[in-house]
Amino acid sequence: MATSNLKLLGMWACPYVNRAQFALKIKSIEYEFIEENPYNRSDILVTSNPFYKKIPVLIHGDKPICESLIIVQYVDDNWATGPSTLPSDAYDRALARFWAAYISDKWYPSPKLLREAQVEDEKTPLTEKISAGLLLLEEAFVKCSKGKPYFGGDNIGYLDIVLGSSLAWLKVTEIVVGIKLLDQDKIPTLSGWADRFCSDEDVKDVLPETEKLLELHEKIQAFVRDGSK
């Protein structure tokens, strides 16, 4: 597969971009990664995603595919190499899509909001929301995994990618606020899954390092503080 035929517009620290990277890595698909500056969008980004102007965008030949969940499904549909990211059973697929939508729409924004919260009063409800969501996802994991190591079963699948992409920034949130959110004692099964996911060789190549994300977070916070003076 010629790398010039496949481009991924992204940014190393963006978890939505990481989702696309996981999907491509799992299928051993080569591509050219084009690092975007989120504060100065390139022409190629604006033309390939005129509606949202956001990363990730996968450009296959001259065809752009936008939105991380749609990209992951496209990679699964288009390349038959390697195990399928989505479950083979239609009901299991519907369950995976349901939880992916829940994670993306309802849960995903909260760790970022918590990390950036300035006021103590804001932090408690966010912490509770994140914890409640994780408990729900613990139950979902038990249902979807059916005793196997991943949401996808024996191998990393769609839902592992969707939730797994949040783990690096979740660790940063825990450090910044000083609270253990994915607590091994309270959420044991999901904690075990998170350790397994982060130890996977394909994942380690993609998932950003906590220290680098923490550095980035501190840079952004300083920038915001200076800007508001």
Binding site: F51, E67, A90, A94, R97
Partner: protein, 221 residues
Amino acid sequence: MGDEVVVLLDSYCSMFGMRVRIALAEKGIEYEYREENLGNKSSLLLEMNPVHKKIPVLIHNGKPICESLIIVQYIDEVWKDKSPILLPSDPYKRAQARFWADFVDKKLYDAGRGLWTKKGEEQEAAKKDFIETLKLLEGELGDKSYFGGDSFGFLDLALITFYSWFHAYETCGNFSIEDHCPKLIAWAKRCMQKESVSKSLADPNKVYDFVLFLKKKYNVE
């Protein structure tokens, strides 16, 4: 497939529920329709969708599937031996259909809601947003008969259900959608010629009555 038990928990005026009705009709699947009172949700709904407590919920042989577009894809996959196939077979066209259906969900619902829940400048802003969103969709349709090309498909299904709300939106917002998006209205009328669509969509006058009821309930004048 004679042993299949299919139940749909729904609400007559819901454009999301209508999507599932169309998909089931397109595939010729028999099912039991159960109207939910959203002000007093049934214990079955709460049991089948504990996370969101929302309709539509499809219950297939006792197992619930939630979220309208997820349900439609499920129906298409389970009953893949029944034509039509709603999602395109080509992976890129499939991604495009999913993208635009997601776009409808992200943009059109909220803009439309603003039309009957807001007043003054806020309502005008919602109207502008609504028309812009429809124009983008009209652009995607182009000169095709359907978003799916020559035949009615996933994206047509995702959008057409909003057509039953157009009369309510137009009356509340005091404007004509056809003035801005004539091709889209032509497309909608084409879709309405399909029995699966015309029988699944709510009567626009009943939708408007429902909106008036909601406006009174939430004190929006």
